[in-house]
């Protein structure tokens, strides 16, 4: 790796100050994406600002019907949290399916969302559950947060501190893993929540995670797998690579949506 300077600020303001005006600084949370990228010399941050030492950055709590997960909470902690399992078991299952046990012990929800990898799992949850990203300066709704491949609404130096998920009536996540990386080749998160039925697709879109209106409309009318049989799944805008061309991914969107819909009903 290239040389870097490591910082572990104790407060969010200190972290923000370290990032401020420093183009070469990057936030470090679990590091499960950033460190491999640095090892391959694809990233070369001059400064790393580790936010895991900041009080309150990690942890899960329920605020009324809303689940609040600190940005530096690991996937493992989300997966085995009683609060998450109670409020939104789909989210716990999603977390349990990210990477492997060792990765889940380090990787964080905030890191995953901020990176917005088009094949990551958490973006689908945030979008389908209609969650809110809380930063050191503001709150950003899910619909406003994702802006394309590895791009979010976060400003330079803006730090995610927590993520809020409203209570939903039912939800489930179905993932078809890319065989090698085990990231989502296609995964679908379905939820019936305060804003109605929302269906988010990750792994498939050329611009990253997206909501599928056709699937949402079908499930709004009839929450069943069968209701999704005739929904048109366009190949336009879907990724194509040797693991899955657009038509295959379109097929998987339907297959995973059906599975998720069924799983949500069965809960």
């Amino acid at each position: 790796m290239y040389e870097t300077r490591y910082h572990k600020p104790a407060t969010i303001d200190d972290a923000a100050a370290l990032l401020s005006g420093n183009d070469e600084a990057m936030l470090l949370a679990g590091g499960q994406t950033l460190l491999p990228t640095m090892k391959q010399h694809l990233a070369a941050p001059g400064d790393l600002v580790d936010i895991r030492g900041i009080d309150g950055m990690a942890g899960i709590r329920a605020e009324g019907d809303t689940l609040v997960i600190g940005a530096a909470t690991t996937h493992a902690d989300v997966a085995r949290s009683d609060a998450v399992r109670k409020h939104c078991p789909a989210l716990a299952e999603l977390a349990e399916g990210i990477g492997d046990a060792a990765v889940r012990n380090m990787g964080t929800i905030g890191g995953s969302l901020a990176n917005n990898d088009p094949s990551a799992c958490y973006p689908a949850a945030l979008l389908a559950l209609g969650g809110t990203v809380v930063t050191n300066t503001r709150e950003i709704t899910a619909d406003d947060f994702f802006e394309g491949l590895f791009t979010t609404a976060l400003d330079e130096g803006e730090i995610i501190t927590a993520v809020r998920f409203p209570a939903v009536k039912k939800a489930a996540y179905a993932k078809f893993a890319q065989p090698a990386s085990r990231f989502a080749l296609v995964a679908v998160f379905v939820a019936d929540g305060p804003g109605g039925v929302r269906v988010a697709v990750t792994g498939a879109g050329e611009d990253g995670v997206f909501r599928h209106e056709g699937l949402e409309a079908a499930l709004s009318g009839d929450w069943s797998a069968a209701a999704l049989d005739d929904v048109e799944i366009s190949e336009d805008g879907l990724m194509s690579d040797f693991h899955g061309s657009a038509d295959y991914r379109a097929n998987l969107i339907r297959a995973m949506a059906k599975r998720a819909a069924e799983a949500a009903s069965a809960r």
Binding site: Q40, F176, Y248, L252
Partner: protein
């Protein structure tokens, strides 16, 4: 005897590995350690117009930057292919020049052009990025078929049309006649997918030059350190053999990829001399994908004819083999003599003709990977049998049975003389263990869960125990393929076995000790296996081609024969008995029918104190032997695979896998079964998961585990491994070799099962979910149109 042949002796070598005390190459670090990082071509084909290392030289920690002109200027020779293949028109193969560091042309992405030596690994890597190479890009060809097309980019000047050789085996006219008279002809076009061997330990080299002694020491990840030393000395001119010590310490898997001598080892040795530093290089996984020799990559068109009773009348094969950008050490032999002679499979086929064209492409060189040629042949033969059975409406097991070789020895029309086997028996064994009778019920049950269940066979043969040196020589091999052993009985009776075989997971430290324990009645723990160091062990040929058992162990047996003879002489002399009356058992050397005996260690002591030896006998008790096999050995097996396919996603799960193997005599069933588990998993990997993918510009798309799918624990079931032993008559233990069987036999069993499940034969490896889904959809389309 609880530790002899046939016993599940727990591995002696395990303790150091389970406690983290294994010593692999990268674990070695010298006081004056420097680190090498290679400057590699980002282009698949380009002229090297110039190298500017000025900036890199000035960077922190950089000791030197060396390039190919310096390397060749110092007389370091080109890499060679050690097996000469002659084309059918009598012309020699066209071997293009391959310098460890390219001087004027790069021919694949990853081809090294320079090396940076620095104080730390990180400094070397960062400086390597600062070496500016001026390339002029050339047109690229990636696929074997494209390489033969008119106007294809020319990769080596001395290989017109990129053709390395156009070779054949068998009688074409007789085969054509056999096909012409056939009642049914099955035709197949198959691709054998390109694989990356991926031993979990990346390649590594630690090279140290001692100026005072003018001597080199190389720690390296090798399956055959003596062959490495020979080639480094005799062909690459790095150092004469007596000035070069090659040590292959603990090696973390090989699978063929660590047979070869690579540019990196050559360069590290030379750079150590140039910089007067110990030079270390350890491959990263990404670098391994770019530079470790790949395996397979065949395109084949074949026809097999059958008479009205289903007996094979002829088998004709036309294969194009992609050897990549350069000819690696044994690359030429893999698609020829390790391939075509296996085309008879387990079957009595009178007429076989196999034509192979080997070509250059702008890809990583291709050489032997677990099975080497035999998986490619087996895939073809066994896909052919299953396909033909379906076309003729026959039970696939019955079609095989009708064609099985029944008597041994059996001479095939493609060079091989099968030594021993019982093919109907192993098929029966497999069918019983796999409960073939209950399959239809399992299929119906799966259907009720929305899954498509299929069953597939593979009844296969291998040629292992490479190889009779004279025969190998007559076929073009540059080396003999015998093995050596020294048996040293120490004065206090413990025993050291010095073997040219190399253990990198095979468990030789246990199994080789078992055959000694069996023979001399001594505890396994009193036997130490010494291997992997050219300063300690006599010249030997190393481990590949499932040869450590049939060839390596046979050399140990031969040396033990000599030791035993001397032990008998000493004991007879001491105990005043006839040599014929001496027997060795239970740690005792006894006179039959009497209570006269010497303890084993007393014989050792007598040999070394030499106070009372027979007249004229030399003191000491150690013997060396070289074993040159008279024939290959022919392990055979019957695999039955059951899969379930999810029609919604195309996902295939191997739900049941049964193997019935004939490895001849088995020394340690636990270890043999472990070899089967691993080999079958690599075969399942080839069938379902693994594939090296290049884009049309020759850029590697599968450059990490993010894109190259390694089999994981959830991809495979528990395996049911059955044995049936027909001893090989061609070596003293009757062993046949077991390392490659799984990788050879498994791929067609898996694909035969999937194609059975989905009802269409049009499916290539790897049968990824997408590929299976596509095949299913293509098969369903005509039905939808009806």
């Amino acid at each position: 005897m609880t530790s002899g042949i046939g016993q599940n002796v727990k591995r002696k070598e395990d303790k150091r590995f389970i406690t983290g005390k294994g010593r692999y190459t990268d674990d070695h670090r010298n006081d004056n350690q420097a680190y090498a990082a290679f400057v590699r071509s980002p282009h698949a084909h380009a002229k090297v117009l110039g190298i500017d290392a000025e900036e890199a030289r000035g960077m922190e920690g950089v000791i030197d930057v060396l390039d190919g002109h310096q390397l060749t200027g110092d007389g370091i020779g080109n890499l060679i292919c050690g097996w000469a293949i002659t084309s059918k028109d009598g012309s020699p193969m066209n071997m293009g020049a391959w310098s460890a560091l390219a001087t004027d042309t790069v021919r694949y992405v990853g081809d090294a052009v320079a090396v940076v030596i620095a104080e730390t690994n990180a400094q070397a890597r960062i400086a390597a990025e600062a070496v500016m190479v001026d390339y002029e890009e050339l047109p690229v060809v990636v696929h074997a078929i494209d390489a033969l097309k008119d106007g294809a980019p020319q990769i080596h000047d001395n290989a017109p049309g990129n053709l390395i050789y156009d070779w054949e085996l068998g009688d074409e006219a007789a085969t054509d006649a056999g096909l012409a008279e056939a009642a049914h002809v099955t035709t197949l076009d198959l691709t054998n997918n390109r694989l990356s061997p991926n031993p979990m330990e990346p390649r590594s080299a630690v090279a140290t030059y001692d100026h005072a002694e003018d001597h080199y020491t190389l720690y390296t990840t090798s399956q055959n350190p003596h062959v490495a030393r020979l080639v480094l000395s005799a062909f690459y001119n790095v150092a004469p053999e007596h000035k070069l010590r090659v040590i292959a310490p603990d090696v973390g898997g090989g699978f063929g990829a660590k047979i070869y001598i690579y540019p990196e080892e050559i360069t590290c040795l030379w750079a150590s001399m140039k910089t007067n530093r110990s030079v270390k290089w350890t491959s990263e996984r990404g670098e391994a994908f770019l530079t470790d020799m790949h395996g397979r990559d065949h395109v084949t068109h074949a026809k097999m004819g059958f008479d009205k009773d289903g007996r094979i009348t002829g088998f004709k094969i036309d294969t194009i083999a992609n050897l990549g950008a350069y000819m690696s050490l044994f690359s030429s032999s893999v698609p020829t003599y390790l391939y075509a002679p296996l085309m008879s499979g387990q079957y009595d086929i009178q007429n076989i003709h196999c034509n192979v064209r080997a070509v250059y492409t702008n890809t990583v060189p291709v050489d032997a990977y677990r099975g080497a040629g035999r998986p490619e042949a087996t895939y073809l033969v066994e896909r052919m049998m299953e396909t033909a059975a379906r076309e003729m409406g026959m039970d696939p097991a019955e079609l095989r049975r009708r064609n099985f070789v029944q008597e041994f020895p059996h001479q095939t029309p493609v060079l091989m003389q099968y030594d021993a086997g019982d093919f109907p028996k192993i098929l029966e064994l497999a069918q019983e263990a796999a409960d073939v009778a209950g399959f239809e019920e399992r299929r119906r049950e799966a259907e009720s869960r929305g899954k498509l269940r299929g069953i597939g066979y593979s009844t296969f043969i291998e040629a292992c125990g490479l190889a009779p040196s004279k025969a190998a020589g007559s076929l073009g091999a540059g080396v003999g393929l015998w093995e050596s052993a020294e048996v040293r009985v120490n004065p206090a009776g413990t025993i050291e076995i010095l073997t040219g075989s190399h253990s990198h997971g095979q468990g030789h430290e246990t199994t080789f000790a078992q055959i000694v324990a069996e023979r001399f009645g001594v505890p396994v723990d009193s036997v130490q296996i010494v291997h992997g160091d050219t300063d300690k062990v006599q010249f030997g040929m190393g481990t590949y081609g499932s040869r450590s058992g049939p060839v390596g162990m046979s050399a140990v047996v031969k040396a033990m024969d000599k030791v035993e003879e001397k032990v008998r002489q000493i004991a007879a002399h001491t105990l005043e008995a006839s040599e014929d009356d001496i027997e060795i058992s239970g740690g005792q050397v006894k006179v039959k029918g009497t209570d006269k005996a010497m303890a084993w260690h007393e014989v050792g002591l007598a040999a070394y104190v030499a106070h009372n030896l027979p007249d004229g006998m030399e003191p000491g008790l150690k013997e060396t032997a070289f074993f040159d096999p008279v024939n290959f050995s022919f392990p055979s097996g019957a695999f039955i695979c059951e899969v379930e396919v999810d029609p919604d996603t195309g996902q295939t799960q191997v739900v049941r896998f049964t193997s019935a193997d004939d490895f001849g005599v088995i020394v340690n069933p636990m270890i043999v079964e472990g070899q089967v588990h691993g080999g079958v998993t690599q075969g399942i990997g080839q069938a379902l998961l693994e594939q090296v993918v290049y884009d049309e510009q020759g850029q590697l798309l599968t450059g990490s585990y993010m894109d190259y799918t390694m089999p994981r624990a959830a991809d495979v079931p528990f395996f049911d491994v059955q044995h049936h032993e027909t001893p090989s008559p061609n070596n003293p233990l009757g062993v046949k070799g077991c390392g490659e069987a799984g990788a050879i036999g498994a791929p067609p069993a898996v694909i035969n099962a999937i194609t059975d499940a989905i009802g269409t034969n049009d499916l290539a490896m790897p049968a990824t979910p997408q590929a299976v889904w596509r095949a299913l959809r293509a098969a369903q389309k005509p039905m939808a149109a009806e």
